[in-house]
Chain length 188, copies 2
DNA sequence: CGCGCTAGACTGAGCGCTCAGTCAAGCAAT
DNA sequence: ATTGCTTGACTGAGCGCTCAGTCTAGCGCG
């Protein structure tokens, strides 16, 4: 990882988050990264290629934060709660990065290739969903919907925490409470 | 509402939903609407002005669908459930419009002026939130978070219903169930 | 009824400009 | 001398938007 490459990615994160992808010309990126036009295209084959790399970078940072201390042998609830906690904490600590990642996930700027590659990072949690089904502690609802709800409620909790600038004990309380609400909803 | 204006808006909805705003040049819109370049700018002062109008149009259609049969005098729960039901039903019936509206809400393409104007449409529900606070049936959670959670869970339920192509009784059951989950989570 | 006229919706070539991406020249390090 | 990174003026495709001009429906008048 050369220094120049990092500079470009950091400048891109900042500008993309600020103005969006289509409103951020490469000219502004090179200006912000203090390099020249040509150098950008030495490191990335196109602007879209750069967007892919920014996405992978952010996804990797988030996944690393979650994977750290992951209770491989814990109960399903413990593991889901761990992800919940780490995810929201990361979002609050890096709100610019979090919002950009959210936007990238939703948009179709990111190539399907990059999306696929980002899934490998989640291998540590690959047994979670099958196990959740087996334990059968959920209400009579499809697993797909339970997962989708988890994502939606977790993201809503993160947005709220960022907007309200929660920290320390207030943040911890909020995370625990939001998880309780989720768990109370889906378990019978 | 002239026919040409409607043509332009319908063409825009289709193309924006398909390729996004920045990937839809005005040349494609006029092609799709079977008019010429200049006509578009007779009806809308700019491309951004057009986006605003598309947003207002969709928001209005959705609000009209929800306002119809709204139980003004019902309990808080009844009224929230009514909105829940109508919203998801509208999304399932018009998935292209629903997805585009979601994107527009999230993005910053829509001017703050247009956003403000769209709030007037919701006046029929203006007493809902104050009443919800008074009744105090919620858990010890901030009202803002309860509202944000409602939006998030309702949208997740809609996405799931669209993706799974639910209809008729299966759809009704899903809507009721998803509302139950929300209600179980936030009430103590 | 028929003619002349007008209003204004519509047209589309083309303007000015921005953009992503190129490439020949320069430079520093070996 | 050679290699490989860096530079930034340059390119041409594509964009939003304009405007001088066309066309037609419909009105007033003899």
């Amino acid at each position: 990882m050369s220094d120049t490459r990092t500079q470009i990615i950091e400048a891109s994160i900042e500008l993309f988050a600020e103005s969006g992808f289509w409103n951020t010309p490469t000219s502004k990126i090179v200006q912000n990264a203090e390099i020249s036009t040509g150098t950008l295209f030495n490191y990335f084959k196109s602007k879209n290629g750069l967007i892919d790399e920014v996405f992978l970078q952010l996804q990797q940072e988030l996944t690393a934060a979650i994977a750290e201390g992951y209770p491989e042998t814990g109960t399903v609830k413990e593991r889901v709660e761990h992800i919940w906690f780490r995810y929201i904490t990361w979002g609050v600590r890096f709100p610019v990065r979090y919002r950009l990642l959210q936007q990238l996930k939703m948009s179709d700027f990111v190539s399907s290739d990059a999306r696929e590659r980002s899934w490998y990072e989640w291998s540590f949690a690959s047994t979670l969903i099958p196990e959740a089904i087996e334990t059968g502690l959920y209400r009579d609802v499809s697993v797909k919907f339970v997962v989708q709800l988890a994502f939606a409620q977790r993201d809503a909790a993160t947005d709220y925490a960022i907007a309200s600038q929660l920290a320390d004990t207030a943040l911890t309380k909020h995370i625990t409470r939001s998880f309780e609400i989720y768990w109370a909803g889906i378990t019978s």
